[in-house]
Amino acid sequence: EDKVVQSPLSLVVHEGDTVTLNCSYEVTNFRSLLWYKQEKKAPTFLFMLTSSGIEKKSGRLSSILDKKELFSILNITATQTGDSAVYLCAVGGLLPDNYGQNFVFGPGTRLSVLP
């Protein structure tokens, strides 16, 4: 059964701290791993990772994938109160007949950044 595990489930830090969020997975026919940020409404896309060892960066956020050990990390440096959100990891496995991907979502990490 496909599975995505995120840790920690909840994290409280102060502004300026650096955080590392973890996502490990077991997915049949892995194709991609996606990170989303969810505040009050629907998730917004952050990164897509398909290759091991290649870091993706966007401002203070960065992410990397290890396909051998089946995990990814999301780093946020110099955190701000606006980073407070639930961070979701989703892993895409190839559908039968190579017809696109099905995504399995983890439970999310709730990050709270205090002033």
Binding site: S32, A42, P43, A90, Y99, G100, N102, P107
Partner: protein
């Protein structure tokens, strides 16, 4: 800019009622998905459709059905709503064959079944 819209932001229904949740996307995406989100459980896939009139069960299809008569519209149907279907429902769409693979989400429908 991709837009995914859902027919209602908030919905309150009674046990046993038939409920329709509508999702429309305007980017000609082939794949569409329905998820429900519950505290501590993350997003769970109910059904998905990878093209018109095609549908596949996700992880928790029981108590739900779907309809995809047109490419832009994917409907989630609760034939007889029950209190354990109180949840946030999220629709998403995605196009095939691109390097993006990101899913674009609608704003969500918060359904309460009394």
């Amino acid at each position: 800019d991709v837009k995914v819209t859902q027919s209602s932001r908030y919905l309150v229904k009674r046990t046993g009622e038939k409920v329709f949740l509508e999702c429309v996307q305007d980017m000609d995406h082939e794949n569409m998905f329905w998820y429900r989100q519950d505290p501590g459980l993350g997003l769970r896939l109910i059904y998905f459709s990878y093209d018109v009139k095609m549908k596949e069960k996700g992880d928790i299809p029981e108590g739900y059905s779907v309809s995809r008569e047109k490419k832009e519209r994917f409907s989630l149907i609760l034939e007889s709503a029950s209190t354990n279907q109180t949840s946030m429902y999220l629709c998403a769409s995605r196009t095939l064959g691109t390097s993006g693979n990101e899913q674009f989400f609608g704003p969500g429908t918060r359904l309460t079944v009394l």
